[in-house]
Symmetry: C2
Subunit: 194 residues, 2 copies
DNA sequence: CCTTTCATTGAATAAATATTCAATGAATTA
DNA sequence: TAATTCATTGAATATTTATTCAATGAAAGG
């Protein structure tokens, strides 16, 4: 019914989509409000009718990514190695098909530098996932499915690889998305898992 | 002898070092000249005595990274799998010890978005290394040392992992640098290489 | 010493960009 | 159809940040 209200949501989504694209290419400071407005095809003044400031746009996007990231981590209750297999598959399969998803992931990994974000989110970005995963890796080393080595360093390798892949394919859509199982081989113990 | 001239070089290096650090955290647009000047401990006016503009600082850094990247690629004439083993070891060992090196790598991977850089450099950044490596991967698949799969996708996985790791450890010095051999396992063919 | 050079600063100035605002007209409501 | 709301614009305005400049004094050269 409320055509106007629907239209408003559509407009907001258009702005967020265009902004995400520009933000991961140019960063927060490098993305001009006028760039976003141009990409959507609206005047700069109108954009401010939908969002109070550039920061708000950014915050709303990061908030979305944060929520997704949290739910993914907590929803996955698999055994150690399977945990990482699930994660890699979920993220990379989605990244390969839906550009929005990969871009969101990239946004999150760059967002830690931005002072104005809420504390909770900045902590999450600042190695929270990596440290939590290190515990799971230690369990996987005990049950023999994950290779030996510093769990934290292994966690860095896994997540940095995922993040790097998302970044590369988000910035160059022509490049193909790698198999998730290749990435899991960073962790896999060949003596048992082979 | 020429104390003044030496001093000038030292100043320039101070500026470049401080700038690199800020640039990889905040990006080009997000890094203020005054941030750099503060980090070095000099006035903004003095900084302009050493560099004509913010772009020049950036260009000089990217130029350094470009030269290094080129020489690394061409110097390495090993067999396919060994090529990637050498690359991973060279880059990650260096990144683990010398922060400057990892930061330079990160700068390069972010630089592609900046329009004002020379064409040659932008091409190099824009997937040149990934595409050249795909050819080497194909050769490695022929001799059985590298796993099956789309060579370009494998190349994306390898380089994105390297790049992601450099980024994570450059931005958080507390995190440990992973073993280079773990990353090479993205490519390694277990049936033969095990 | 006296002169010249030049590193250094803080205070202008210039440019770029975010944000506000008054005006317009099309859609909604009554 | 008259009144009201609100999406939309382009033109101010405000703010931030890059860049320039004239002045100072310390080092180098003669």
């Amino acid at each position: 019914m409320t055509t106007r209200s629907d239209q408003k949501e559509i407009r907001r989504k258009q702005i967020l989509t265009a902004a995400l694209d520009l933000l991961i290419q140019k960063g927060f400071a490098g993305t001009k409000i006028s760039d976003i407005a141009n990409a959507v095809g609206m005047s700069v003044g109108l954009l401010f009718h939908y969002f109070d400031s550039k920061e708000r746009i950014y915050e709303e996007l990061v908030q979305m990514g944060f929520a997704k990231s949290q739910s993914m981590m907590t929803a996955n209750r698999a055994e150690p190695l399977a945990f990482f297999e699930n994660m890699a598959e979920l993220i990379l399969d989605q990244a390969g098909n839906d550009p929005f998803s990969a871009k969101m992931f990239v946004l999150m990994s760059q967002a830690a530098a931005n002072d104005f974000l809420p504390e909770e989110i900045r902590n999450h970005l600042k190695g929270d996932v990596i440290r939590k995963s290190a515990k799971i890796i230690r369990a996987g080393q005990s049950d023999g499915t994950i290779r030996k080595g510093d769990p934290l360093a292994l966690s860095v390798a896994f997540w940095a690889a995922i993040q790097g892949i998302c970044q590369v394919i988000a910035l160059d859509a022509d490049l193909p998305c790698p198999d998730s199982s290749w990435v899991v081989d960073i962790l896999r113990n060949k003596k048992t898992g082979g």
